[in-house]
């Protein structure tokens, strides 16, 4: 039996906490999922299921990340029987290095408002006429941890989070926990959590947890 929270959302009893794969297969429109992984294998497992299910359903998928992150996903899709090159040519599958779709970054500040707008325009081209929805997979690890530009990364997450009810899309952001330094990232991690709707943690239970189901208020 479901219990209603103050925010009107349903509160799940313990035994009903869903496993990550059910969320990743069919994420609700507007969901903004945060995956924190400790093994790269787990990142590929989750991402390839997310992408493959979208392609099966005729949705457009956009993957944003370094070549190191996207190459294993391409390989996993190929192993699963998808003709990746043909999907790329038809633009059902978009692969972007940072925010410049299917090309190398041309500007030093890819996260500028103009770049984000251009990126969204490219991503949503043909939606909803040809594609009913869009799925966006992104690994902002290099931006968030290695460059140390927390504010830019969080600004991007925030802009996606604010637009999640406007566009017919669902987002999956993968963060490499091996780069998390508890003292250094303690405050920023709160902002990361605040700007997502679900968490797929790296723990053994393999669950997906809803973030701030009460809206975060007292």
């Amino acid at each position: 039996m479901m219990e209603q929270t103050a925010g009107g959302r349903s509160r799940r009893p313990l035994l009903e906490v869903p496993k990550w794969d059910s969320l990743v297969r069919a994420p609700p429109l507007g969901s903004h999922v945060l995956q924190v992984y400790e093994e790269p294998r787990r990142q590929v497992e989750v991402a390839s299921l997310f992408v493959a299910e979208a392609l099966e359903r005729g949705e457009r998928v956009c993957c944003v990340g370094s070549t190191l992150d996207t190459a294993p996903i391409r390989k996993a899709l190929g192993d699963a029987g998808f003709d990746v090159d043909s999907r790329l040519r038809s633009r059902a599958l978009l692969i972007a290095n940072r925010l410049v779709v299917n090309d190398e970054p041309k500007r030093p500040e890819e996260n500028s408002p103009q770049s984000v707008t251009q990126f969204l325009h490219d991503t949503f081209e043909g939606v909803p006429d040809r594609y009913p929805a869009v799925r966006l997979w992104i690994n902002p690890t290099d931006r968030f941890f290695e460059d140390g530009r927390f504010e830019q990364a969080i600004a991007f997450e925030q802009s996606c989070h604010e637009r999640r009810d406007v566009f017919p899309w669902s987002l999956l952001c993968a963060y490499d926990a091996r780069k998390l330094i508890p003292e250094r990232h303690a405050a920023a991690f709160w902002d990361v959590l605040r700007n997502h709707s679900h968490l797929i943690p790296a723990g053994e239970l393999g669950v997906a947890l809803e973030l701030f189901p009460d809206g975060g208020g007292p």
Partner: protein, 201 residues
């Protein structure tokens, strides 16, 4: 006499907390749990709250009812690993477990009786290695607890610590186990000397 009560209380608190942190890491993964722990230490204020209470409060905010996943696991972990009533712990001792029991000299043999009786009930042979002055007290306790027959039949045996250690050495067990668990080294034994008895160079 050293009063260990305060230390034991501290160990009990630490065990409970460790079970909680362990449960958190099981659900969230080690690195996320540690970062979140630091995050919630910063975010959740309250001088009168322990670190664990702050984290629990923060989890309830982040995950709402799902925070129970962690709490529930922590309770299960505490039950498995944390402190239990002494009598219950003695009833559930597992094979290969190795316990330390602190007691006063005055009631040492009496406190051991639960363990001894449980062993006899399970059909085990019970050997007690004791300081020599305690052997008589042990025999009296065994007789008084209704296991006197086992003492007569040899199923429950009391031995002084020094004699017990000597018996073990003589049985060759300690030498066999030393060889079994030590890295294999080239034998220095002459090849014509073939004996099944333990051989000490």
């Amino acid at each position: 006499m050293i009063d260990v009560r305060e230390a034991i209380e501290e160990i009990q608190v630490r065990t409970g907390d460790q079970a909680y942190w362990h449960a958190l890491e099981m659900v969230l993964g080690t690195l996320t749990a540690r970062t979140l722990r630091s995050t919630l230490r910063l975010k959740i204020r309250g001088e009168d709250l322990s670190e664990r209470e702050r984290v629990a409060k923060g989890l309830a905010e982040i995950f709402s009812a799902q925070a129970a996943t962690v709490e529930n696991l922590a309770r299960r972990e505490s039950a498995l690993r944390g402190p239990r009533p002494r009598e219950a712990a003695l009833q559930e001792l597992e094979m290969h477990s190795h316990w330390v029991d602190f007691s006063d000299a005055a009631n040492e043999t009496r406190r051991a009786m639960g363990f001894v009786k449980r062993g006899i009930e399970r059909g085990a042979k019970v050997v007690a290695l004791l300081p020599s002055p305690n052997i008589e007290a042990y025999r009296r306790e065994v007789a008084g607890s209704g296991c006197g027959e086992d003492l007569d039949s040899g199923r429950s045996k009391a031995s002084s610590r020094s004699r017990g250690a000597r018996d073990i050495r003589r049985s060759g067990w300690s030498e066999r186990s030393r060889r079994r668990y030590s890295p294999r080294r080239p034998s220095t034994r002459p090849s014509h000397c073939e004996s099944k008895r333990p051989w000490i160079p």
